[in-house]
């Protein structure tokens, strides 16, 4: 009899479900968040903080003011684009954790357009920036994709290493050749001309990047579920062996998917510099590329679910800023993010297995 012992003569065992439980699959993310919040609260209590105060500070940071709410939407934009980027790669079992670097390269390329070819009709300049950002991100995604497609070089490590390279490259530019001569020696590029700045909604900081993100989600859905190529990507992700027998070109699809993934993250970088900072500067991203991993997994790699989840995670980030302002430990945000992922992973087993409590003779006593 295998299983975890539970008291006298009882064990917990896992039993395979006949099929995949859809209901449980939907409930798991919700329960994961609830469990992470409760677990995080207990942790805060043990560390000598008042969890109620901390959670209220977070909530009021997001829902307490129109500004908080609009800031949450602002942070949703890069999370949505990066979440979609990561999800399309994950769907093919490509563990692209380089969205952060791809975002930076997109930002650098878009900044190059804005700084050196930024005068002219806004429509043209912004279109060029979008193109440059997507292209640079795609290129940055292709660098690890090529060795992955040819020799199966572990893309998790290479994409992550390229994050550091991209951030150092962007820092080199703002500390060196692109530093604004009128900028009192701060590591900032010159401010972009007006024609290179994305339009905003009303007097909020919410910019057109939101529309880019929503369009990308819809397009991604159509591509994945209503085109032949999307079908190939899904088949390769679920069963590479079957895909090979069906004659699908896996290497080519690895390149295409990573380019698409990098391109989406590159657009996120373009939107950040063009919509928010309006110049190239260090610390552009507050780890959006990494949070995107949680967004994608929590959203079950579904483009529409990712829209909702990225708003939720953006709320967590904005809540974190509010905590920092009140001198509370903002690092709890990463702890909660990690915990949510743990609970989802742990909960996933319930979609495939049933927990049963049996006595030692193997007779079921409870489910």
């Amino acid at each position: 009899m295998s299983g975890l012992p539970l008291g006298r003569n009882r064990v917990i065992t896992l039993e395979k479900r006949g099929g995949f439980s859809r209901g449980v699959a939907l409930l798991v993310p919700v329960f994961s968040i609830v469990c992470a919040v409760i677990g995080g609260g207990l942790f805060l209590l043990a560390a000598g903080y008042d969890p109620v105060e901390i959670y209220l500070t977070m909530l009021s940071g997001v829902f307490g003011s129109a500004y908080g709410l609009s800031e949450t939407v602002v942070k949703t934009i890069p999370l949505l684009l990066c979440g979609l980027a990561v999800s399309v790669a994950f769907r093919m079992q490509l563990w692209n954790i380089g969205a952060e670097g791809q975002l930076y390269m997109g930002a650098v390329a878009a900044s190059w357009v804005a700084l050196f070819h930024g005068e002219g009709s806004p429509v043209v300049v912004i279109a060029l920036m979008l193109l440059a950002g997507a292209a640079a991100g795609a290129l940055w995604g292709l660098i690890p994709a090529i060795p992955r497609a040819l020799f199966k070089v572990n893309e998790t490590i290479t994409t992550l290493m390229l994050n550091y390279v991209a951030i150092l490259f962007s820092d080199y530019l703002v500390y060196g050749p692109w530093k604004d001569p009128k900028g009192m020696n701060f590591p900032l590029s010159a401010v972009f001309p007006d024609s290179a700045i994305l339009p905003h909604f009303g007097d909020t900081r919410i910019h057109l990047g939101l529309v880019f993100g929503l369009i990308a989600a819809v397009l991604l859905y159509i591509v994945l579920w209503h085109t032949k190529w999307g079908y190939e990507v899904r088949v390769i992700g679920e069963s590479p062996v079957a895909a090979r027998y069906a004659g699908m070109n896996i290497a080519r699809n690895i390149l295409l998917v990573m380019a698409l993934s990098g391109g989406l993250a590159g657009i996120a970088g373009m939107a950040e510099v063009s919509g928010i900072t309006q110049r190239l500067q260090p610390n552009l991203s507050s780890g959006y590329g990494y949070t995107a991993i949680i967004v994608a997994w929590l959203g079950r790699l579904n483009p529409f679910a990712i829209i909702g989840v990225s708003f939720l995670m953006a709320g967590l980030l904005v809540g974190g800023y509010n905590m920092q302002m009140s001198g509370l430990p903002a690092a709890i945000v990463s702890i909660l993010q990690g915990a949510i992922l743990f609970f989802i992973l742990g909960g996933d087993i319930l979609t495939k297995y049933r927990i049963r409590i049996k006595n030692t003779r193997g007779i079921e006593v409870a489910e």
């Binding site: 060795p147 199966k152 572990n154 290493m161 150092l168 080199y172 990463s334 990690g338 992922l341 996933d348």
Partner: protein, 316 residues
């Protein structure tokens, strides 16, 4: 103190390589049992901060080492529970561990940032050995943890390749179903390897905060956990090769520092921006990974066959 520059650089390579070596040895254990652990970065951070805080509180760096081992072990326990018992996705669990560890270490270390370590690991010269020309200076004028890492390399090599337990461990990583039918406890073996791997990663982190830096800074590992994962592939899951690889990466890590310190004497290199010098270890990791992977693919050696796959008894 007029040692040739090469000796000085190699000596710093050993120091800079030691945290990588501890972490890589831990990852070798975990991966040999078939469990991929991408949480090394998070484990190192939690180890670094725990070792640092314990040393601050007790004034004894060995208490710090114990705390780092315990903290790394607990992180390993989380990963083992999710990926072995609950059969969760090992890649995502590892990523979660890194995100979690980054947050947890920042949270714990917040009120101590920048305080000097009261009991730093200081270099202790090994009698006799340090008299060996050049090699003595390179290998035997370091702190106790460096010597401990030498011992671990030997112990883990013996354990994995020369004992029955090691044979069982490799069997579990290659073919868990066959190992299970031979009566080898698959889950227990995987738990032991992942947890001890976590302890070693924690120790690698503590080396940074207690000997290398020696202080605590948020995210002070700066990707070393990931380089350690790459090193394991470079080392084809072998402790001795991990030692060589760690020192090569340590050397590249230290090189940028040396070039800056040399000033005018560094010739054309002095004009290279420090940002590019800092990129070197990351770029080297990518290049080495590509070379090694294409080579091992040709020779069909290395990767434990069951790496990354959860084992389910009933699907045997």
């Amino acid at each position: 103190m007029n040692d040739p520059l090469v000796v000085v650089i190699l000596s710093t390579a050993v120091i800079a390589g030691t945290p990588l070596l501890f972490a890589a040895l831990g990852e070798i254990l975990a991966e040999r049992s078939g469990v991929l652990n991408l949480g090394v970065e998070g484990m190192m951070l939690v180890g670094a901060v725990s070792g640092y805080i314990a040393t601050l509180l007790t004034g004894n760096h060995w208490a710090g080492v114990l705390a780092a081992l315990a903290a790394g072990g607990m992180m390993g326990m989380i990963h083992a529970f999710i990926s072995v018992s609950l059969r969760g996705n090992q890649v995502v669990s590892g990523l979660a561990l890194t995100i979690f560890g980054t947050g947890l270490s920042a949270f714990l270390g917040k009120s101590y940032i920048g305080q000097p370590v009261p009991d730093v690991f200081k270099p202790v010269t090994v009698p006799l050995f340090s008299q060996i020309p050049y090699l003595g200076k390179i290998f035997f004028e370091h702190d106790a943890l460096v010597y401990l890492s030498y011992i671990f390399v030997i112990v883990i090599w013996v354990l994995v390749f020369k004992t029955r337990w090691g044979l069982n461990l490799r069997a579990v990583g290659e073919n868990p179903a066959a190992a299970d039918s031979m009566g080898i406890p698959v889950y227990l073996t995987r738990y032991i390897s992942v947890v001890s791997g976590g302890m070693l990663a924690g120790l690698g982190g503590a080396y940074l905060s207690l000997a290398y830096a020696p202080t605590w800074l948020e995210n002070m590992t700066a990707g070393r956990g990931w380089i350690a994962v790459a090193l394991v592939i470079f080392a084809v899951w072998h402790p001795w090769k991990a030692l060589v690889g760690s020192y090569i990466f340590g050397g590249v890590d230290a090189l940028g520092f040396h070039i800056q310190a040399m000033g005018e004497k560094a010739l054309f290199l002095k004009d290279v921006s420090p940002f590019f010098l800092q990129m070197l270890p990351y770029i080297l990791t990518i290049i080495v990974l590509i070379l090694v992977t294409s080579e091992t693919k040709k020779r069909r050696v290395g990767t434990p066959a069951a790496l990354g796959l959860p084992y389910d008894r009933e699907e045997r």
